[in-house]
């Protein structure tokens, strides 16, 4: 990656700024968004840095046009992203479905905040977890990463771009106000240490009539605009050539399945987890900022001689059910921790409950990450 894009060094940096630096390092060329707390620092920083490398951040009239412009820029061949919070995602959902339907690489950063509705803008909750997967209409698969620190805001943004480009799909970075506004040490490696991926495109000069640019489980090359591919891009039901088909149900079936299978087929290489449950009887399952509390609680429990462990989901979508099952087969008790009323809990329970006891521990107050002391108490109760 271009050295001008990577500000190699050790910093005391805010999570949202680290996200913007991650986007720079990943090769982001186009960003569009609309001001919203607690995501603004990402946009502010991109607005300053992107023009220095020939890109730009554009402040649009709303979040609908922000994601629309991002999709347009992606079809123009640019690596593109948007950043917002829950209310913005709610507005973007129709066009996120469009991006999935026409297989558009892009990164969507959601710095989650107190919700529903306008909620509490400066408080982090994990309230939009299922929205990311099911918010837009119809069946689809999505990729979502959950960073837990400013360092990961940087690293996961790079991964998000790489996944988006590799699998031609929107990728969510599901952060929250705590992680986004957290300031910690961030180490940015040298440019040549950062792996970046750019989408495959068809060979120039390919006969447009023979070009299969869509609906391939192994990811079709993207017939980006301006290269003479004469791409017909419609999110209405279409075949692998992009040709619209609004009358044949078998075409719809293929459309729905191929889009999902493209992600599911590569689930193993997409899935990222942190396993620390060797020999553990009680396993804490969590993601994002909550994982930090889980790790601390397990540390304390182990000091007291309790066989406790953690499983941290870094990619929550596609849902890593196999990882949950593998863990649950060894554990006696699984405790799910989320900073919400239990959004991913039913998914985890469905995979784990056959093998172990599964319970959910919400924070005392939603919007407050679980106190490690409280988690420890729960572990002690269970292991009595």
């Amino acid at each position: 990656m271009d050295e001008k894009r990577v500000c190699t060094g050790r910093y005391f940096m805010m999570g949202n700024v680290a996200c913007a630096e991650g986007a720079m390092a990943a090769g982001c060329e186009f960003a569009a968004g609309y001001p919203i707390t607690p995501a603004t620092e990402v946009a502010n920083h991109l607005a300053e840095k992107l023009p220095q490398v020939g890109g730009a951040f554009f402040q649009m009239e709303d979040e609908i046009s922000s994601i629309a412009a991002v999709i347009g820029a992606s079809w123009a061949g640019k690596k593109a992203m948007t950043v917002t919070s829950g209310p913005g995602i709610s507005l973007m959902l129709e066009n996120i479905g469009f991006a999935i339907g026409v297989e558009t690489p892009c990164v969507i950063v959601n710095v989650q905040r107190g919700a529903p509705s306008t909620g509490m803008p400066t408080i982090g909750i994990q309230g939009d977890m299922v929205q990311a997967k099911h918010g837009s209409h119809g069946d689809y698969e999505i990729i979502a990463l959950c960073p837990s620190s400013p360092q990961e805001m940087f690293e996961h943004t790079v991964i998000a771009f790489n996944y988006a480009e590799k699998y031609r799909t929107p990728v969510f970075l599901l952060s929250d106000a705590f992680v986004g506004h957290m300031r910690e040490e961030v180490v940015i490696p040298e440019a040549d240490k950062i792996k970046t991926i750019y989408r495959k495109i068809p060979e120039l000069g390919t006969d447009p009539l023979k070009l299969k640019g869509f609906l391939d489980e192994n990811v079709a090359p993207m017939p980006i605009f301006g290269k003479g591919f004469k791409a017909h891009v419609t999110s209405s039901c279409h075949d692998e050539y992009g040709k619209r088909n609004l009358i044949d149900i078998s075409a719809l079936d293929k459309f729905v399945r191929k889009l999902s299978d493209k992600i599911l087929k590569h689930k193993e290489e997409i899935t990222l987890v942190e396993r620390d449950y060797e020999g553990a009887e009680v396993v804490l399952v969590s993601y994002g900022g909550v994982s930090r509390a889980a790790a601390e609680a397990v540390l304390q429990a182990r000091k007291k001689g309790i066989a406790a462990g953690t499983l941290r989901l870094i990619t929550v979508w596609p849902f890593p059910g196999e990882e949950i099952e593998k863990m649950a087969r060894k554990a006696k008790h699984v405790i799910v921790l989320e900073n919400n009323l239990g959004q991913i809990y039913p998914y985890i329970k469905a995979e784990a409950a056959h093998f172990s006891e599964v319970s959910f521990l919400p924070p005392k107050l939603v919007g407050e990450i679980q106190d490690p002391e409280d988690i420890l108490k729960k572990i002690e109760e269970i292991s009595k």
Binding site: N16, F30, S65, A68, V70, G72, W75, F98, S236
Partner: protein, 286 residues
């Protein structure tokens, strides 16, 4: 005898065998005017990216035109086109869609991008009705008219002057014609394509099936005759009072001016950003 081929057949996507327009639809006239303009300028379809929204007129470029075409969600084509233009500044970006798409559901994107004066051509086929969904009232449907969603007659004021809205928002080129003026329309599209700025063309277009037949204003020919009779050039219109212009369609090139264009301004901004001293890394502390 050699096979007769339409001179603009080369602009049509080879896989297309028919159009989806109803008999008598004005969208065919608009399609041909666009292709005549492109041909007249000696341009190639690869010089363009076409963007459309949802509705009958959106099916003009998608799938008819043999070019890069993005068929987007309802109301949003201009917003998608913004991203495409910023990514492919050397290409001509043309949005073709209807009044419901561009002015009702997508009105703010029209206003804001006219204000930005970003170089693109927006062609709005204004048929005064939602045709594709079966004849529902649009903001452009005259007051009192019975439609499928207003069985007792529309009870909202009509959106009379879409072009006026776009002029007020700051577009550098705005023209209005009817499908009864195909030659003038073609000439204006040519100018719009060459314009450094936001170029908007409103085309009053007949929908004989959902509008003409149901509202008793007749078939396509009668509707075109009505457009011709009611049309008045902007030059003539300037001499008349508001009262005298009631029911008339003011046609012509309403605005053609030079002002800062957004793509050029972005280039200027980038130069400023690159020329400045190496910015210190902002760690987010303030």
């Amino acid at each position: 005898m050699s096979e007769l081929v339409h001179p603009y057949h080369r602009f049509i996507r080879p896989t297309v065998t028919h159009s989806s327009f109803c008999p008598g639809c004005g969208d065919g006239t608009i399609a041909q005017s666009i292709l005549r303009a492109i041909d007249g300028l000696d341009m190639d379809m690869d010089d363009f990216v076409f963007v459309s929204g949802i509705g009958c007129a959106a099916w003009i470029p998608s799938p008819l035109f043999n070019a890069d075409v993005l068929h987007t969600t309802h109301g949003r084509p201009i917003a998608f086109a913004f991203g495409i233009k910023m990514g492919l500044t050397e290409k001509k970006v043309m949005v073709v869609s209807g009044d419901g798409d561009l002015v009702a559901i997508g009105g703010n994107h029209l206003i804001q991008n006219a204000r930005r004066n970003i170089e693109m051509v927006v062609i709005c086929s204004n048929n005064g009705i939602y045709g594709m969904t079966g004849g529902q009232a649009a903001p452009t449907t005259p007051m009192g008219v019975k439609t499928t969603t207003t069985p007792y007659g529309t009870f909202e004021n009509v959106f009379e002057d879409i072009s006026g809205l776009v002029i007020a928002a700051g577009a550098s080129f705005v023209a209005r014609w009817t499908t009864g003026h195909p030659r003038q329309l073609t000439a204006s599209i040519k100018k719009a394509i060459q314009k450094k700025g936001f170029a908007f063309i409103e085309v009053i277009s007949q929908c004989p099936v959902q509008f003409g037949r149901k509202m008793g204003v007749g078939n396509a020919v009668q509707m075109l005759e009505d457009y011709k009779n009611r049309s008045i050039s902007i030059q003539e219109a300037k001499k008349l009072s508001k009262e005298e212009l009631k029911g008339r369609i003011v046609v012509g090139e309403l605005v053609d001016l030079d002002k800062p264009e957004m793509v050029e301004e972005v280039t200027r901004m980038r130069k400023k950003a690159m020329g400045g001293a190496e910015a210190a890394v902002d760690t987010g502390r303030s």
